[in-house]
């Protein structure tokens, strides 16, 4: 860690964090940074499906079928491991339990897979009971491709790398198999309130 301090440098952060809303080590932001590990996929809606794979079987929804499912609008705080937090973000999406109900499988873990090859792992209990959605709208507008549209996973109680953009489905698993970033140093679970950013945190 550098001992040198740049005179007069503060960075772009806001200082006025409301009590208890911002996890340790995080800074508030007003904008919505676009983070990307690769080119933005552009899957036409006619070809888009969401699939849950369970053992050898699978169940899937086309875009029309997915959008016909009951959805809800939620306001949540989001926390990115790159240290920015954004409060009161408004999303519309299908609760993940609505999708998982269609599958008769009690596997404890899932691996979310996405257009572009991104993956992330989650315990199934962390995406049930109002904790996660497959979101298709942000701020009242259809989700922009740069932010993961047409649909992304939304799991606000964990670091935002778990809210996989361009999500196309889940593989249900017996083991918690690390995904794209979890294989590469990021924490398997990722609780921002325990500052679980990296392996061993």
């Amino acid at each position: 860690m550098s001992g040198f301090i740049s005179r007069g440098f503060r960075g772009r952060r806001r200082e006025d964090a409301p009590e208890g809303r911002v996890p340790p080590g995080q800074y508030l932001t007003d904008d919505f940074p676009v983070l990307s590990a690769g080119p933005t996929p552009h899957t036409p809606l006619e070809e888009w499906t969401f699939e849950i794979r369970s053992g050898g079987a699978s169940v899937s929804w086309t875009w029309e079928e997915f959008r016909a499912l009951p959805s809800e609008t939620v306001t949540v705080d989001i926390h990115c491991v790159t240290k920015w937090s954004k409060l009161d973000t408004v999303w519309e999406g299908v609760p993940v339990e609505t999708l998982l109900e269609r599958v008769d499988d009690d596997s404890p873990y899932l691996l979310a897979f996405c257009d572009g090859g991104y993956t992330t792992n989650l315990p199934v209990e962390d995406v049930l009971d109002g904790k996660a959605w497959v979101a298709f709208a942000y701020g009242g507008e259809p989700l922009d491709p740069e932010h993961g549209g047409p649909a992304r996973l939304l799991v606000p109680h964990l670091y935002f790398w778990k809210s996989a953009k361009w999500v196309r489905g889940f593989e249900l698993r017996n083991e918690d198999e690390p995904g794209f970033w979890e294989q590469n140093g990021y924490h398997l679970y990722g609780d921002p309130w325990k500052e679980q950013r990296y392996w061993g945190d």
Partner: protein, 249 residues
Amino acid sequence: MEGTAVLGRLTWQVAQVTETRQETRRVKTIALDLDDWRGHRAGQHVDVRLTAEDGYQAERSYSIASAPEQGLELTVERLDDGEVSPYLVDELRNGDGLEIRGPIGGYFVWEARDMRPVFLAAGGSGVVPLMAIIRHRIAVGSSTPMRLLYSSRSLDDVIYRVELDQVAANDNGIEIVHTLTRAQPEGWSGYSRRIDNDMLREVAWSPSESPSVFVCGATRFVEAVAEGLVGLGYDPRSIKTERYGGTGG
């Protein structure tokens, strides 16, 4: 850390700001002094790191503007939504320390022993490393033909304008062609649009001269120019690019 002096360019060192010069409304040149500086090659860059009192850090890369013969100078454009550039352009002053790492880069560099005619294409602040190349060519007295096609929004946005006018007027094998994409002064007879294939055909060397090419600027600008040159018959391997990210040109 004991090993730091030995590691030299491999790790962060604190440079002193010795001079700052406003180039345009949003662009400033910063001259730096560093005890251990062992020189650089034209086209290389340095990484700059800022650290706030609470330990918060931000890092960015900036091309070196000076020729190797001229010490170390950076030219920085202030981006409105930037985090590092507003500090460098608005806050940093003579006597301040600045942490840098480098010089870095072995690919986007020009050496005077390369005798191929050189085509340089710059979008906005992408002119910075190309200026280092031009300054180096002049400093070593090379006569390699060099041509710069420089895209700016308006005359007021042209970085190093006076120096480039002098370089062009000296007429010793370096040609400067400007295009002003948003606003042109009264009586402007030069190009007044974004670089396109027609312009490249008129300005760039013929592929038969086996030129060496350096293109620098925003990602979209660089990709458009590189594709255009390949379309004109340029060998893709002769085209070196440095993409700055961001939009515009």
